[in-house]
């Protein structure tokens, strides 16, 4: 059974204004867009016009950055109100947030920080999801993040933490295959061996992207073409689980748009091969 009741969206790109003109000139080659919700929360008239223009030409989903869904001190109601207004405006089939915290003790840390893999953290996420569902009825899906450091005192590994969190909240999963790969490399776990332990039955969307190595660590920097290793993982995931949408993230070193289209088309070909998309 699908994690959420929503239509498949195909192969999309994370929207960045830098390639807006290219996007419209190649509209038929992009199935949907994901907007960064935070870019439109206190938007100018021009940004709202842009949003309306995008919405009238593409299926949209929204991706939040700063909800701090795992925060022990709850979700900021003002921030949530703005997200709710945005979701109402664009009416996406689902929206997504990172399974992390970005605020603690009222202080914004400006970073997607890993939650401790504990039952207490799962309970906090479940409380916050319960709270936000009172404001936003659109299904929320949660994304696994890449970690720089792990919080000590873990009671389980990431796969189990994610599985139990999604069960506790009833949320779908936004699987970032690049983040999975980065974490496996940086923390030295065998992704192949534990592949079946991830919550595939809750998969809704995939993110893929390229990153780079820095000081011996892989960084999910969204500034390079998707690596062969990530493509291999992506193909395995698409073959393993029904997925409604796959999306390329590219934030820096944006190449000619034809390269982005090339990646999106490669991702779409895999969807089609596996009958996930028409």
């Amino acid at each position: 059974m699908a994690a959420i009741d929503a239509p498949a969206l195909g192969s999309g790109i994370g929207y960045r204004p830098q390639f807006r003109a290219d996007l419209f000139a190649h509209r038929d080659r992009i199935d949907f867009l994901e907007i960064v919700a935070d870019h439109y929360l206190d938007a100018t008239r021009e940004k709202l016009d842009e949003l309306d223009l995008l919405r009238s030409h593409f299926p949209l989903v929204a991706h939040g950055l700063d909800l701090s869904i795992g925060g022990a001190d709850g979700v900021d109601p003002r921030y949530l109100g703005k997200i709710a207004a945005l979701i109402e405006r664009i009416d996406p089939p689902w929206w997504s947030e990172h399974l992390c915290f970005t605020r603690a003790g009222g202080v914004r840390i400006g970073h997607l920080a890993s939650l401790p893999y504990t039952q207490e953290a799962i309970d906090a996420v479940a409380r916050n999801v319960d709270y936000l569902r009172r404001r936003i009825k659109t299904p929320l899906i949660l994304e696994n993040i890449s970690c720089v450091v792990r919080v000590p005192g873990a009671e389980m590994d990431e796969a189990e933490f994610l599985t139990r969190t999604l069960e506790a909240t009833g949320c779908g999963w936004l699987c970032d295959v690049a983040n999975m790969h980065v974490n496996a490399m940086n923390f030295g776990f065998d992704l192949d061996a534990q592949f079946e332990r991830w919550p595939w039955e809750r998969l809704v969307q995939i993110h893929y992207a390229g990153g780079r190595a820095r000081n011996g660590l892989l960084i999910d920097s969204h500034d390079a073409p998707t690596s062969d290793a990530v493509w291999t993982l992506y193909e395995r995931v698409v073959a393993r689980a029904p997925v409604k949408a796959v999306l390329l993230e590219r934030d820096e070193n944006i190449p000619p748009f034809s390269e982005l289209i090339g990646e999106a088309e490669r991702a779409r070909a895999t969807l089609v091969e596996n009958r996930r998309w028409r």
Binding site: A21, D22, F24, A25, R27, D49, L53, H57
Partner: protein
């Protein structure tokens, strides 16, 4: 007329009432013209992936904008050039048979006489023949409700006539009443009535001067939002030898169609903006001095709806 109490009001009080009448008339004129174009009940069509520069130019500014776009195109291709004193002249370069389409050929023929830029806009024969060539584009835009419906012109005329009759009628009635009482200073009332009628005509002009319907405006705005930033950025590369300049050539006609020559100010091709700002109003959204009051029909100057 003495049965109308307001006509017996003392001067200042009557002027207050008269001002109110003028405001109501202007509001009614606004509503009449506004409601005659209800094309914005439908959302604009999707932004095209490969915009047709001539279609965009015609929608944006009628025949004037088409002329600007064609001139820029022919100049880019080396068949015409801008000369001192705003003249448009043919170059020695000759097009190969079949190289130019009908509209380009018309413009090139018109340039053989080395006219000043404004003459091209005032050439009724050229405009008429261009409009003939633009008929399919015009029909397509009309089918999409992107150009102003004929009802706008009809209601504009009705509103102008009706509004003028009310304003002038009230003023004349007051003048007649005052004269019947003896000599009176009515200069301010006459001035106010004249200014009100002028304001009425100005309002009607402003509301109908553009060729695009409300839906058409929304469509143009969507195109500007989708492509404008890239086009404006590309302008910075005009004249440079790099790949950006080559890329710009593909977008140049679309840019001129959408914005006219004004984005070229400050570039190596600023002479287009300068020459044609003297030759016609440079903002593409107006009909220019040669429109002859035929705004709304593509600047046909009699070409008619």
């Amino acid at each position: 007329m003495k049965n109308f109490a307001i006509l017996d009001l003392p001067g200042p009080e009557f002027l207050n009432v008269f001002g109110l009448v003028v405001i109501i008339v202007l509001a009614a004129v606004y509503l009449c013209i506004r409601l005659a174009d209800r094309t914005d009940r439908r959302p604009p069509p999707p932004v095209p992936q490969n915009p047709d520069a001539m279609e965009v130019a015609f929608l944006q500014g009628g025949v004037n904008q088409v002329i600007r776009t064609l001139i820029y195109d022919l100049a880019q291709r080396g068949f015409i050039a801008l000369a001192p004193k705003d003249h448009v002249i043919p170059t020695e370069s000759q097009p190969q048979p079949g190289e130019l389409n009908a509209m380009e050929t018309l413009l090139l023929e018109a340039a053989q006489a080395k006219p000043k830029a404004h003459v091209l806009f005032e050439d009724r024969s050229l405009r008429r023949r261009l409009l003939e060539q633009l008929a399919p584009i015009r029909a397509k835009l009309a089918a999409e409700e992107l150009i102003k419906p004929a009802s706008v012109k009809i209601w504009r005329r009705r509103a102008q006539i009706g509004g003028t009759l009310i304003i002038v009628g009230v003023a004349l009635a007051k003048i007649a009443v005052e004269w019947s009482k003896g000599p009176a200073n009515l200069a301010y009332l006459i001035f106010l009535a004249a200014a009100s009628v002028a304001a009425l005509f100005a309002l009607a002009y402003v509301m109908t001067r553009t060729h695009a319907s409300r839906r058409g405006h929304a469509y143009l705005e969507a195109m500007r939002l989708a492509y404008g930033e890239r086009l404006q950025a590309a302008v910075a590369h005009i004249g440079s030898p790099g790949p950006e300049a080559r890329a710009f050539h593909g977008a140049a006609l679309f840019l001129i169609g959408l914005y006219g020559f004004s984005p070229l100010k400050g570039t190596t091709e600023a002479m287009f903006a300068e020459t044609f700002s003297r030759g016609s109003q440079s903002q593409g959204s107006n009909c220019g001095s040669s429109c002859g009051g035929s705004c709304g029909d593509g600047g046909a100057s009699g070409g008619g709806d």
